[in-house]
Symmetry: C3
């Protein structure tokens, strides 16, 4: 059994941007030559999150719209009163969706549905350059 | 250390159906004979999710009701404008709850609370036959 | 490759209390001497959850406030009608945020952002003594 770790950099365009990282993960996995195991991806930072979604233009709008309804940007946040960076809602949204995702792979392929992609969701109000950590444990 | 993977099939009865899969996981784990490690379960597809909950009749209604309040089915979704499948809300709900769950085990037993079960939550509007992937890493 | 498991106990002060457990995780990891791998932390029980957040006084209020807006305590829950323990909303909140978190480590350090801490979020209405399970797989 082996552990292989890699970091990639993903540039995002600010709040609500969802970046499909599936191809990056697939490529890293195929380079390892490992056949069975699990891939964990983790985003360091407290204003971004990882999940899976059908990556199509409609849902690229619907998911951020839902987050805005659930955790509106235009209500008071204690975080903003102290830090005046206007991203209290970004933090809350990121903590709900979560920074970590573990996906098993079998016969060298991630166990994803056909219309299921892995996305990095930018919650911060500015564009950011995100460091993404990918770790593969397998054989 | 070993990696053992298995797939099971779970039939769901459509939106809001929560299926207790704890016994399946326990049975698969006990068959491996492994004592310490972790079990990851992952649902391929973008309209179902995995979490833990106290599996009792009240919460089987409360959790779907909460999802309906949080991500209502009867508001416009861009997804539905394009695909006309009426499950835009299902996708959004699934992406919030998440498709992956990792549970450690010790002395051959999953580290779950007494009133904590693992559930597959169907978010799609129709009954579905779900493929569930279970992967165990341990010794 | 090794698997090392440990349990810690965390006392919480009831609903909305967020306890920073990062130092506990860091200390346990450093004691293992392992350099590369992943740490999974899991909270047994169905009324607590784990996530990451910037642990500062503002967000310690904002995150519980958001949960209260999303899943209010003062609406009817079927759970409460049966069990009369008044924590139906606690269960729902915990199931949305989730009981499990996997964080990779590299060169003996958890891959967390500078302002990203790991928190146990108490959702139950009373103070609780929580058992937390930490499992490290690595080399």
């Amino acid at each position: 059994m082996k552990i292989i770790s890699e970091e990639i950099q993903i540039d995002t365009r600010g709040e609500g941007d969802m970046v499909d990282i599936t191809d990056h993960l697939t490529e890293i996995l195929s380079r390892t030559g490992l056949k069975n195991g699990q891939l964990t991806t983790f985003v360091p930072g407290s204003t971004a999150a990882l999940t899976t979604i059908e990556y199509e233009p409609g849902l690229k709008k619907d998911f951020p719209s839902a987050l805005e309804r659930l955790v509106p940007h235009n209500i008071p946040y204690e975080h903003d009163k102290t830090w005046h960076d206007g991203n209290g809602h970004s933090h809350v949204r990121a903590s709900i969706v979560g920074p970590s995702l573990t996906i098993p792979f079998s016969n060298g392929r991630l166990i994803l549905g056909t219309w299921q992609q892995v996305v990095l969701v930018e919650m911060d109000i500015h564009s950011r350059s995100r460091r993404l950590f990918i770790q593969i444990i397998g054989e």
